[in-house]
Symmetry: C3
Subunit: 136 residues, 3 copies
């Protein structure tokens, strides 16, 4: 069983997918198994991140911005701007796909754990995500 | 089929989960499929790492300690100490979940490959891990 | 259902596995589900990367070479040369295993998304990969 999410981002930043995830798991009727989430792009990714203090995601942006600076002259793939190649690197340092256990008919996330889409491009993008639900 | 591991860590460092993994796969009776391992926290993660020379995991700590220094003044989320935000970043640069093939009733790891829990907090923690076993 | 790929690398660099992936999915006859790809080594990894402009993978090598320099004196595990420990770190910062949705009997990759084996050792190596295909 697969479901598609189409997420319109407002540019670089994190977008909480946990409500969508919970809804898709509930609709599947699966009690125990896996939900695999997959973003079909190479300049956005998925992360599991602390969900209580927004400063965590702020600091994460600061860290990644320092690690992979926009406009770094080491990059030659700059066709779509100074954030083009950094977006690819940031995606590869995180993950396009994450599987989450389904337990008692719900996503088995920890108390402080939420699933986020991380948009790495500066400008708004349309992002497609496939959820594959497997009973186990 | 799901199994829970509760791991008491002694603080930052790596903890070999391969014996637990092998036991859970054996108990499942699954001959071929996947074992998905998932840590329900955002300040500890899972890695597959070389298992022959402990210096590899020593060097890995050195590298990560330099890449994401405890107490770095760039971080504002410091409620739980200087290792708080670095633990979140280190988790996101590695993985909360890893799937391992089951082949011939055993985890299909390479000869030099073991599964480790990587505790990123300096102090001891109780960590919960869910294993989801799927025949395929 | 599992399939094995044996890939002979020519040393550090990326190797497109997408044709092998498509063939294995087709041969499985699975219409909807997951294909889990897993490399049984700790000095090579899998990535999903932009496939249109080879400069992306060139820049990725430049970035990773700067982030984890061969011969960095911080590393003490250097038995097999200056690229030994960097190969382990590069593997852990990326992934040994990646699951890809199967949709309509094909790998559900995005238009610009291909699966690559990333060889991190400087010299040629024989790499073993297991694909586990699960209907869902």
């Amino acid at each position: 069983m697969q479901k598609i999410l189409n997420i319109q981002t407002r540019g670089r930043g994190t977008y909480d997918l946990s409500p969508d995830l919970a809804r898709c798991v509930r609709e599947s009727g699966i009690d125990s198994g896996l939900c695999h989430c997959f973003v079909h792009h190479t300049s956005a990714s998925l992360i599991l991140c602390e969900n209580a203090d927004p400063d965590v995601r702020h600091d994460l942006e600061t860290f990644m911005g320092n690690l992979v600076p926009d406009g770094d002259p080491m990059f030659i793939h700059i066709d779509e701007g100074e954030d083009d190649m950094p977006a690819h690197v940031r995606s590869i340092l995180t993950q396009a796909g994450i599987s989450i256990p389904i337990t008692d008919g719900r996503p088995g996330l920890g108390t402080w754990q939420s699933l986020y889409l991380w948009e790495h491009r500066l400008h708004p993008q349309q992002r497609r995500i496939t959820l594959t639900l497997i009973a186990g």
